[in-house]
Every structure is written in structure tokens, then in C-alpha cells.
């Protein structure tokens, strides 16, 4: 669905953010985009949506070059940014102004989502809390029925019950013809929703692998003592949380925070496991 080849991108000439980055994304998946602050998560998402321009390389988003910003492509992309602006109008006026850009916009679905999120529909957008505004744009974005859903830190600002609602909504939003990319620092909010992890580090993709592939190759477990087979470990109350090769075909639960730290710290040691 999305093919990126040899992408070079940077905001200034001397500081490239991405160097010869290549990857593909397919429909039917929820990708979790992870990276340190400043690793370029938001910039990568913006490249996909045509909000910034690559220096060189090719981007193919369902047959379109995002930088040409053709309406036929844009109506199939829903981008939910981390920081956003909403005008001082009510929800119905917002819908009237924005929904027509998306030919598949589903008003009933939007109404359902607003109900699920418990948002008073008659309120002015500017009088809402940050969390409420966020829920409005998430609901709007999903109601566009776009093929590509991009979310930058969607759970920021959501209260505890809203996070549960968000997870349920995302679980039902994934269809076979839809691709969802979520960047996040709050991996615990989303770790059961993500099926493929993409870790950005040092101007490139340090890891792109499905949860299934990762847990097939590595095992995540609590151990009492360190031993030489452990590739990476963090101390815990009763010993260590460790990552090691999966010698015995164990089916462990992937610990996404541990994986993230492990990959950033021991990148070269993990490389042979993922090609």
C-alpha cells in the first residue's frame, strides 16, 4: 500500500533526519512507530501525508506521490496530529466545512463515536478541553473512512476511560483494506493493538517486524540471574527483565518498552535476527 525507497529528508542541509530510508507498509495492519524524541517520528508521518517534501527518494502512497497532494489521495488519508488547531465553531459547522472533502465520510459513524466518547455535540470546539478536542478529531478522522490512518500520539490527553474507548474503537477500525500507523511514547496504552513495530533511530529504521516475528526470534522474560545468552536486561525487583534468543520456541509476551530500549542499546547484536 505504501512504498518508500531511499528517502532522504532533513529540515536543514547539514542535518539529515533520514538517510536512504526504505520500507513498505501494507493494508490490514496497525503499525506502532516508536523512536526517541527528535528521532523523526512526526516527520516521517508528515512525509507520508505530503505535509513535507523529501529531498530525494520516492514515496508511493497507494499509487500517488504524496508531495503532489492530489485530492484523490488526500481524501483517503486521515492525519491526526499531536498538535492541532480547531476553530471557534460548533461541531456541526465544523462537519459542514470539512466533511465534504472526504467522499466516503460517514456521518452516522461520527455520531456514534461522539456518543462513545461522551462529547456534548452542541458545545463550541474552543470551549472544550484538550482531551475532548482530541476525541473530536479522532472521531472525525475515523469517520472519513480513509484507507490510511495516521495518528501522532493519539492517547496524549485522553483520560483513563477514554483510553479504553480508544482501544476498542481502534480494534474495530482495522479492516483488511486499511492501514493504520500510530506513533507513540505511551506504548503501554497501545501495545496489544499494535501488530507491527517500527523503531526509528539514527536516521533510519532500526527495526521493522511483526510481534509474531519478534517473539518467534526473541524471548522476553524475568530471570533471577544474568547469563551469557541474555542480549539485553534491565534490573527489576526480583531479578532482571531480559531479552534473549528464543532457543526453545517459547511463546513469550513481547514487552515493547524493553524491546525499544534493547534495540537502541544493542542495535548491532539484534541485527542478525532481523533481516
Amino acid at each position: 500500500m505504501i512504498k518508500v525507497n531511499n528517502l532522504n529528508f532533513g529540515y536543514s542541509k547539514h542535518q539529515p533526519l533520514f538517510k536512504n530510508m526504505s520500507f513498505q507498509l501494507s493494508a490490514g495492519h496497525i503499525y506502532g512507530l516508536l523512536g526517541k524524541n527528535g528521532a523523526g517520528k512526526s516527520s516521517l508521518l508528515k512525509n507520508l501525508a505530503g505535509l513535507v517534501y523529501a529531498k530525494s527518494g520516492t514515496l508511493d502512497v497507494f499509487g500517488f506521490d504524496p508531495s503532489s497532494r492530489q485530492p484523490a489521495m488526500l481524501e483517503q488519508i486521515c492525519f491526526i496530529p499531536e498538535e492541532f488547531y480547531l476553530p471557534a465553531i460548533k461541531i456541526d459547522a465544523y462537519l459542514k466545512a470539512n466533511a465534504p472533502f472526504y467522499k466516503n465520510f460517514n456521518h452516522d459513524y461520527f455520531t456514534d463515536l461522539m456518543k462513545e466518547f461522551d462529547i456534548p455535540v452542541s458545545q463550541k470546539l474552543t470551549n472544550m478541553s484538550y482531551g475532548q478536542k482530541k476525541k473530536v478529531i479522532i472521531a472525525f478522522g475515523l469517520a472519513t473512512q480513509a484507507k490510511l490512518i495516521i495518528m501522532d500520539e493519539p492517547t496524549n490527553g485522553l483520560d483513563i476511560p477514554s483510553k479504553t474507548q480508544f482501544r476498542k474503537i481502534m480494534a474495530s477500525a482495522l479492516t483488511d483494506d486499511r492501514c493504520i500507523v500510530i506513533s507513540t511514547h505511551q506504548v503501554r496504552d497501545l501495545d496489544n493493538l499494535i501488530d507491527t513495530v517500527i523503531i526509528l533511530d539514527e536516521n533510519n529504521i532500526a527495526l521493522q517486524a511483526s510481534i509474531e516475528e519478534i517473539t518467534e526470534k526473541l524471548t522476553f522474560k524475568k530471570v533471577k540471574e544474568m547469563d551469557p545468552s541474555i542480549i539485553y536486561a534491565e534490573p527489576s525487583l526480583s531479578g532482571f527483565h531480559a531479552v534473549m534468543p528464543n532457543y526453545h520456541q517459547e511463546d513469550s509476551k513481547l514487552d515493547m518498552e524493553l524491546l525499544f530500549n534493547a534495540i537502541l542499546t544493542e542495535k548491532t547484536k539484534f541485527k542478525p535476527y532481523f533481516n
Binding site: A171, S172, L174, L193, D195, I211, T215, D251, S252
Partner: protein, 124 residues
């Protein structure tokens, strides 16, 4: 459903389904929740549920009727017991044995504990 942190999610969901079958909340020939319903209920990726359902199909615990959904097989309860028993024997029993050995617990003591447990929990 509360997930534990030491077992793959798709296996924990398989346990959850098996439990429903053993307790006959879902009976033979009945439809199990769709992949989507289950994903929403448990707040997990639908692909994870699909993986669980594929495993349960291989174990002949559920079967896929094209276009209609997944159904509990006729012999599901026996299949679940076999599947769970094999897992228990291979993975859980060694841990239990180790503790029994280390703590010097006698089989008589275990037996009476076990009988009380069964009475309190299942014979009410």
C-alpha cells in the same frame, strides 16, 4: 479480561476461549464471537484474535464455516482438555513439582488441600 505479563497474548486469549467452552458458556455447535467482536471486547488487534482462532482451529476446538463465522466443534470439550492437559503437563507441572520438592510438601497434604479446593469451588 486482565492480561498477565508472562504469556503471549494470543495464547492468553486461547485460554479465555477454552475456559468459556469448558464452563459451557459457549456450547458445541454454537457460534463464538467474531474476530472483530472479540478484538473490541478485549481491546487487542484483530490479527491477534485471528492467530488465536487459527490455533484453536488446528486443535479442532473451533471450526470455520465460511461466510458465517467460527463455531464450537462437537468434541470441543475433549479437545480443550487434551490441549490444556498437554500444556499443563509440559509447562506447569514441572514448576509445581519443583516447589513441592523444595518445600517438602507431602502428597497426603496436597490431596486433602485438593479435595477441599474442589469442594469449595466446584461442588457448591
Amino acid at each position: 479480561m486482565e492480561f498477565r505479563d508472562n504469556k503471549a497474548i494470543y495464547l492468553q486469549i486461547a485460554d479465555y476461549v477454552c475456559e468459556h467452552i469448558l464452563l459451557e458458556k459457549w456450547k458445541a455447535d454454537e457460534k463464538v464471537p467474531s474476530v472483530r467482536e472479540m478484538a473490541v471486547e478485549l481491546e487487542v488487534n484483530p490479527n491477534t484474535i485471528m492467530r488465536t482462532y487459527e490455533l484453536l482451529q488446528q486443535q479442532n476446538i473451533i471450526s470455520n464455516k465460511r461466510g458465517i463465522g467460527f463455531f464450537v466443534t462437537e468434541k470441543a470439550i475433549d479437545q480443550v482438555k487434551n490441549f490444556r492437559k498437554a500444556h499443563f503437563m509440559d509447562h506447569e507441572l514441572p514448576v509445581l513439582f519443583r516447589n513441592i520438592y523444595l518445600l517438602n510438601i507431602s502428597f497426603e497434604e496436597l490431596k486433602s488441600k485438593y479435595e477441599t479446593f474442589v469442594n469449595e469451588n466446584f461442588n457448591a
